[in-house]
Point group: D2
Chain length 319, copies 4
């Protein structure tokens, strides 16, 4: 069986770590050729360190390149209140053994893609700055990208501002560049990620795996519960379950049959009060040609089971 | 018992007619001193005609003044696909006996308010053009306005564009002027109006009243069912129930105890893709002083019962 | 000979005072039915006081109504560095004998226009807030307005920001409403007002009239010279001459033959960095129908002579 | 004497050809390591072809890399009405002998800069898309760039729209990225280029050189005279002289003593009516730290003489 060659662009971050868990647990299916770090939840220094420390811990052997420091036009706003100062809540990982690549992220992506015989799939679970810079400066890569699977955006509502999801809010211009690029894009926005949750009871089944890694994974995912606050404008269980936002972007590659979506024309509000709103024309009022496959539904039980399995796989690998 | 003096600004339209039904059924409580028509769902010619024809039919005796033709800055977009060409779906009312007032709407509002000994409450269930023009040109009315109860906006999602509710979309500048005016505002946005629905079975209890008016009311409200289309981004029952958007703005005055809300700072996106988004800072990230009381919950059963009662009251009055 | 009935909307301010001098010196030609004050150079309290004190001093007998306090959407920024704290530089006028009208400005304008048998011309030499509020809230006045002669805007450059003239910068939305209103507009922007200057030697001919009023007028107009600073991006004589900006708006009514202009489509940048830029499509790239007559040239010698004559007329009247 | 290593980014275009003439006439001073073509006046296909054909004709031996096709966010608008369909008016050059580089422009710039021991100076005389993409995707080049000398922008007025110069109008986001980059920037905007003109009589001294190249140069520069139209909002001699816009960007490197300028904070209007306005804070109202050296004056006679000399040098070289 042929493995899917992918590049992962990430800003760990708790749910980025869960996403990496799923990706590296499935190494017979996914061939991760490069990990690049983006700035977003926390600064580039921290996301790159965290990526290296988490991936070192789970025994991944992969090049980890440092990405851009700043969004394209906006000032960086970090979300340390949500992810803890370190980005991993209260959980500690040992110092990384994996080094920082000598290649900056955009150069590493460019060279990885151009050197590949097969088309590359990009998974992105942070602001799209690195990916957009690549597409903008080096459009020659476009025919060699199979698809971009991105966690971000929302057709309805937001979590950073009332109309914007965090990753889109941080760098809306990057999202717009990616959406306009002509490369196929799958968007796992809040519409689907809010349905991709794990209950506390289900999370305990992770703890029950009984390994050190499983325990760390459990504490990572339950850290959110202490910091997320629900308002009357949120869905009712908003603060009682664990949303696995970033995990969706990899799960979709492994198990597309778990998801349902719709091809839509999506445009991004770049400036002003609603900056970062990914305006999904789900009724096709505009009549414009769809440019994004927007996921809206997920088989939650199957999703959770698959994730728990990944924690087990990594756990066993680490024994 | 002292009656609440009110001015109603409306663009009938089906749910505006339901709102007027509730208002005029409660004439012991509400003293409607003036009705003004705004442009929005349909043109000013039609909203003014419809207000007069509907109010003539239900026996209301009130001055009906013609309002502004156009939003403050945007081009008028009418929604005849939703309300039918006439604005009343397939239901016919006789030609109006009530005349068009000689006073234009803003002048009539100005003079009505300045002539009143008591503070006036404004109910607005369309785009806020008339009300905003009044406040902007004649700020001397502000201390004489008790409150503005407006149906419009949304903290989450939209119905005209993915991020904008219809009334806010039509004239976002007017909404912003009203929100900044310093006059107390209660916003019945989609957050609450999507919970203020009537099921088809409940609607049949209107039909069962057995009068001509009840039959017309039933056909008005069920007309929506044929034209509303649900997508996967809508709530599940979106196309199977009747949302009584405009009715909320009057119901709140009659039965505030049916509702729950939150004081929030709200700002409106004026331009661009997300124009008309009423950005409700429900987590108070901005730290700004709340300027709008945003409703988010309603006692639906009590709401429906109260509305059915209003249809009965009007029905009896017409026998 | 029939006199031209006009309303003057002004924010005195030094060059507003010069404009009022010209207007009231020509009372056989101009029938000033109302003066309204706008906020701009300085606050409404001061512009209204100044209008009353200056007009009392020059013996004008006219209703002076208080206008709106704030621009339509933007925060008020006053320019006391240019006009001095009082608005009249170092020149003092006695306390006003003319009272504040009981009618607010918009109501006074509305009633004055609707009560007139002839069409009314509006002269506006400040931000257009009052005029825009009138047109917006009471479109029934439009057929009764002959023309609006406004000092403001610029096809090229700016004086408040690099791309915006002061009056347009203060309330760009008001300018846009006026320009779109369908009422004929003549714009005396910086393009022409920078050519309508008086040299210091010419100003001395005002001083040489030898009256108290002439002396005050001289000190008013030369006050600018101490506060205006030239940069290399300004025209060469920018700080060595006295620009009679506001005077143009009245001079054009008296002596249209002194001016040349072009019918252009003009649109106003409402938001952002370039807010207040009056984008004059002088090459008609857009192909849109002209909505403003934009003045660009003036017979400067004749202009100066006419102004000096006005100072003499008022001086003689006051003896 | 050590030569200045430079990269030229250009969209020939008539005045780009004049700029290249000056640059390659001074090869003892300027070491042109790379020419990249940008889209702007005309399409990338044409600018790259024109750069190769003109440089082949004048005997330049240099790598010419193909740049990006489209502005970062806006649609490309080409200006064939000004430059003729070919971009060179009525003048023909033989088919190019210089090839298209195998390296795309951004890659070629990246590798040229990173491979150099000395800092590189960038001359840019078109929209800044290529340069901005380089800086955005590869910030590691910044410490190795000496300066960017750009023709574009305007403190006062515009030539594409009333508030925007052509190169800035085409890709305002690129300009903003370059201005914010921290790399030293010299802006030869319309403020100085409108003073860098050649009269028709002076142009004849080019013709009088008597060579084929001089004749072509003469016909190139005088082609403008037939297509430029003056309005009353332009300076008086606007259509009677030849503005050598692009030439300024190279002349400044050769003869900085010909120019005067001011360090200013400059920001670019990205969206809307005034998009492309380079808002130069020449009075430092904002108090922000200057980020651009904005030229405003030039020793015109010396400038013209230096340019004529360059035509002679190339002419002699081609004999
Ligand atoms: Ca993430
Ligand atoms: Ca309505
Ligand atoms: Ca003024
Ligand atoms: Ca060029």
């Amino acid at each position: 069986m042929t493995r899917l060659p992918i590049i992962i662009d990430t800003d760990p971050g708790i749910d980025d770590a869960m996403m990496l868990t799923l990706a590296f647990a499935n190494r017979e299916t996914l061939d991760v050729r490069l990990v690049t770090t983006c700035s977003g939840n926390i600064s580039q220094d921290k996301t790159n360190y965290n990526a290296r420390s988490f991936l070192s811990y789970i025994g991944a052997d992969v090049e980890i390149a440092r990405g851009l420091e700043q969004p394209m036009f906006r000032e960086l706003e970090v979300a340390e209140d949500i992810h803890g100062e370190s980005g991993f809540g209260n959980v500690q990982f040992p110092a990384p053994t994996l080094p920082v690549s000598k290649r900056p992220a955009v150069t590493a992506m460019l060279e990885t893609i151009m050197a590949s015989d097969e088309k590359i799939t990009i998974v992105a679970t942070g602001p799209l700055t690195n990916v957009a810079a690549l597409l903008l400066a080096h459009p020659e890569v476009k025919p060699k990208i199979e698809r971009i699977s991105w966690m971000g955006g929302a057709a309805v509502g937001g979590n950073m501002s009332p109309t914007a999801e965090f990753n889109a809010y941080v760098d809306p211009h990057a999202v717009e560049i990616v959406f306009r690029s002509g490369v196929p894009v799958v968007m796992s926005g809040l519409d689907v990620t809010h349905k991709a949750f794990v209950t506390i009871d289900e999370a305990k089944s992770i703890l029950n795996i009984g390994t050190e890694f499983a325990e760390k994974a459990y504490h990572l995912v339950t850290y959110y519960l202490d910091v997320i606050k629900r308002t009357s404008f949120h869905e009712e269980n908003y603060d009682q379950v664990l949303h696995f936002h970033d995990v969706c972007a990899v799960m979709y590659l492994l198990k597309p049959e778990f998801f349902e979506g719709q091809d839509c024309f999506v445009e991004v509000a770049l400036e002003g009060l609603a900056a970062g709103a990914t305006v999904v024309d789900y009724t096709n009022r505009s009549g414009k040609t769809p440019n994004v496959h927007v996921l809206h539904s997920v088989n939650r039980k199957a999703f959770v089971a698959e994730f728990v399995k990944a924690v087990k796989v990594i756990s066993e690998r680490l024994q």
